[in-house]
């Protein structure tokens, strides 16, 4: 990090990553569910000024433990330091960068588009073309669901842009590592 002559991208309120080094990383953090424990994890993520893209928090298969999935846009050196900072939190039992292990990443998205008799048919076709299924329809709107990679989610949203999107709800990524090959 030091003695660096590389230009940095100034990102207000976030770390200044050396130019061209920013990448999206997915960190998996397992933390014992105690008062203040999740706050500490989020506190470190925010205080270290990492550019947080998504954060999901769900109970782990082990009772009394939360599994936090955080997608962070930053440089590798910053991520390594961030991991060490997270590791220091007493209630954190495990933390790793999903890229360091074979991992499956999935995200759930619900997209609702406005529709009438004229547009409904082509909207449904566009959504299905992008891999989504229709989960609800009314006279005014069609709602799609998709489970897939972040890229597939983006594709669906792009495909539906020509229609009037009323609302998008994304779950953020969930990651499973170990005993999986590729994606």
């Amino acid at each position: 990090m030091s003695n660096s002559t590389i230009a940095t991208t100034i990102r207000p309120h976030h770390t200044n990553a050396p130019q061209g080094t920013e990448k999206s990383y997915t960190l998996i953090v397992r933390v014992v569910d105690r008062p203040g424990s999740v706050d500490r994890v989020v506190g470190v993520l925010r205080r270290r000024r990492s550019l947080l893209q998504s954060l999901t928090l769900l109970p782990d298969q082990q009772s009394g433990v939360f599994r936090i999935t955080a997608q962070v846009q930053d440089a590798e050196v910053v991520i390594e330091h961030l991991i060490e900072q997270l590791r220091k939190i007493i209630d954190v039992t495990d933390v790793y960068d999903s890229a360091t292990r074979p991992s499956l990443t999935r995200e759930l998205v619900l997209v609702q588009v406005a529709s009438n008799g004229e547009t409904a048919r082509s909207a449904v076709a566009a959504g299905q073309q992008a891999g989504a299924t229709v989960v609800a329809t009314t006279a005014e709107a069609v709602t799609f669901e998709l489970v897939g990679s972040a890229a597939q989610v983006e594709q669906l949203i792009t495909a539906l842009q020509p229609y009037s999107i009323l609302e998008i709800a994304r779950s953020g990524g969930v990651v499973l590592s170990g005993n999986v090959v590729g994606k």
């Binding site: 030091s2 003695n3 008062p35 706050d39 390594e80 060490e84 590791r87 939190i89």
Partner: protein, 597 residues
């Protein structure tokens, strides 16, 4: 009541010695807290009672082994616990009630956190039924102290109280030490449960078993480090607080002597390595002497042990030690590569790493490098220049020399924050190990007086001097009453220049002498001492400095000695913030500028 208390105490004693009979008795939460404190070896705690912590104070009188010191402000309690911990290496304990009591601990906890000091803070909390309802004196102290504690706990039920209390001590002491806060709702304090000592290991037992399993750093790292050291022509050791925390004094000395590498001690590393040792070459950074900073600039290798490259040490990082490779030894993995990328990173306790490294390296002679540094030092004669100014009024060097002389160098010196802190760091001759105590990372004005109380109680046989400015001494002046009530004897030196001196100095250098809100008048410190039942001495002439210090040492009880020093004395040299550390403002440069104006 008296009989019940006696029974409880006997139960406690039985537990302590592991001779408890089969009869299982239930204890209240507060009795469990006291039992754990006794088993953890706590002999003194600093605190202040109030509503939500009253059950604890009720139980406390049944535990004479726990000596409670009533400070006059919770901030004083947290600094006293910190000072006690720094002096003894044990865990310092402070106690406060909920709400304002707990928030008053914040500055002390932040101070201990920045300087890695093991402190356990016990706070009362409103009863669980009132949590989150904005009850009287309710504060989310877990949220407040989250970024300034190593860890904190809210005790949710009586069953987890004992395990949490022991864990708090374990966390505070192990690895990189730090403050831990335990927040105990009032109804949990009053609840009852069985406490069996045998069910819990103490932090001492935990650390012992940890030490038994501690391995030396990986062999390939030691060999790489030894190779870098063997190749280095101009290596420097940067020794920090980690040396003191792991008591690695002898190991540092052995390593430095075998390799003949000159040693720089950081502000918190001062007194980890004797100033008088031929290899010692000073303190680095913003107010370090020119030859010390220059040696870092010229170095081809830094061996940094238990230090974290604070910005006051590095100045502009891009200009810091540009020619040097780095062997970085720290117990906290998150410190490695944080500021300066390490060539060889060694995550380890300082003592363990230095022992292994000393065995691995080859002896070497580097006297030419040391002589070169000494020649820069001799050419500068900074100390000589400082003492020649205004020779009729007390000056910082004569005050500090007098304290050293009158205590045979045996004093523990606790400094506050500001100009006097830098003068003390630079011009007191640190010969006694771990004799320099100061708030380094946080830079907490008001630290010295309450911390000195804790230091003295931890080291009752050592003379203890608190050194403060006329600004900082006011920030916790109320603790004079605590010293008086406890009969604890320290000596207090106030360097009075009638200014917030360090801010004034920055205003002089960087804000065109616009002395905005830095001139200050204070109380009559002699009368003030008298009001607290203590002796006060005022010194206005240089020739009286030594006799005043001697009089203070010869007078029983706490004594305040106020030295009226030059109002606009500066700390030289100085590196302007943001500059490289070899780019220094020297006294001569400033005088020339003044003459040219």
């Amino acid at each position: 009541m008296a009989i019940a208390a006696k029974d409880i105490q006997q139960a406690g004693t039985a537990n302590q010695t592991g001779q408890q009979n089969d009869e299982i008795r239930e204890l209240t939460g507060t009795e469990i807290m006291c039992e754990v404190l006794v088993r953890e070896g706590v002999d003194v705690l600093y605190g202040y009672p109030g509503g939500a912590i009253m059950p604890f104070y009720d139980a406390l009188t049944s535990y004479p082994a726990l000596h409670h010191v009533l400070t006059r402000h919770e901030q004083g309690a947290s600094h006293a616990a910190d000072g006690y911990a720094r002096a003894t290496g044990k865990v310092g304990v402070c106690v406060a009630t909920s709400g304002p009591g707990a928030t008053n601990l914040v500055t002390g906890l932040a101070t201990a956190f920045m300087d890695s000091v093991p402190v356990v803070a016990l706070t009362g909390q409103v009863a669980r039924a009132f949590l989150g309802r904005d009850a009287f004196q309710e504060t989310d102290i877990l949220g407040v102290t989250q970024p300034i504690t190593k860890h904190n706990f809210l005790v949710r039920n009586i069953e987890e109280l004992a395990p949490i209390m022991h864990e708090a001590f374990r966390i505070a002491r192990s690895g990189r030490p730090g403050p831990v806060l335990v927040d105990v709702p009032k109804d949990v304090q009053n609840a009852k449960a069985v406490y069996r000592a045998d069910d819990h290991i103490t932090s001492e037992e935990y650390l012992d078993s940890l030490a038994a399993h501690t391995q030396a750093p990986a062999q390939h790292l030691l060999l790489e480090a030894a190779e870098l050291i063997a190749q280095a022509k101009r290596p420097i050791i940067l020794a920090g607080h980690g040396i003191i925390l792991s008591k690695a004094y002898a190991e540092l000395k052995a390593f430095a002597e075998k390799t003949s590498i000159p040693v720089i001690t950081t502000l918190l590393g001062l007194s980890a390595f004797a100033d008088t040792h031929p290899l010692h070459i000073g303190m680095p950074g913003m107010h370090g002497p020119a030859h010390t900073n220059r040696s870092i600039g010229e170095a081809d290798l830094l061996v940094a042990v238990g230090m974290r490259f604070d910005d006051r040490v590095t100045g502009d990082v891009k200009q810091f030690a540009t020619r040097a490779k780095l062997i970085h030894i720290d117990i906290d993995a998150s410190e490695i590569h944080k500021v300066k990328a390490a060539t060889v990173p060694i995550v380890s306790d300082a003592r363990v790493a230095l022992t292994a490294l000393t065995e691995t390296v080859q002896p070497a002679d580097r006297s030419a490098w040391l002589q070169e540094i000494r020649s820069w030092e001799a050419a500068n004669d900074e100390r000589g220049r400082q003492i020649k100014r205004n020779d009729d009024i007390p000056d910082p060097i004569s005050i500090l020399s007098a304290i050293h002389k009158e205590t045979d160098g045996e004093a523990i010196v606790v400094s506050d924050v500001g100009q006097h802190q830098m003068w003390t760091a630079r011009f007191y001759e640190w010969t006694r190990l771990n004799s320099h105590i100061t708030s380094g990372g946080l830079g907490t004005m008001g630290f010295a007086l309450p911390a000195a109380l804790g230091v003295k109680m931890g080291m009752p046989d050592a003379p203890v001097w608190a050194v403060a400015g006329d600004g900082g001494i006011q920030m916790n002046i109320q603790e004079l009453a605590t010293l008086q009530q406890e009969g604890v004897t320290i000596k207090v030196a106030i360097m009075n220049n009638g200014y917030l001196g360090m801010v004034r100095q920055w205003q002089q250098f960087f804000h065109s002498r616009n002395y905005s809100e830095t001139p200050m008048t204070g109380p009559d410190h002699v009368k003030l001492a008298d009001a607290y039942g203590l002796k006060g001495i005022r010194v206005k002439r240089r020739e009286d400095v030594e006799s005043a210090v001697r009089e203070a040492m010869e007078t029983p009880g706490t004594v305040i000695v106020e030295f009226i020093i030059e109002p606009e004395a500066n700390v030289y040299p100085m590196v302007a913030p943001g500059n490289g550390i070899t780019d220094m403002i020297e006294e001569t440069t400033v005088q020339e500028n003044a003459e040219n104006e």
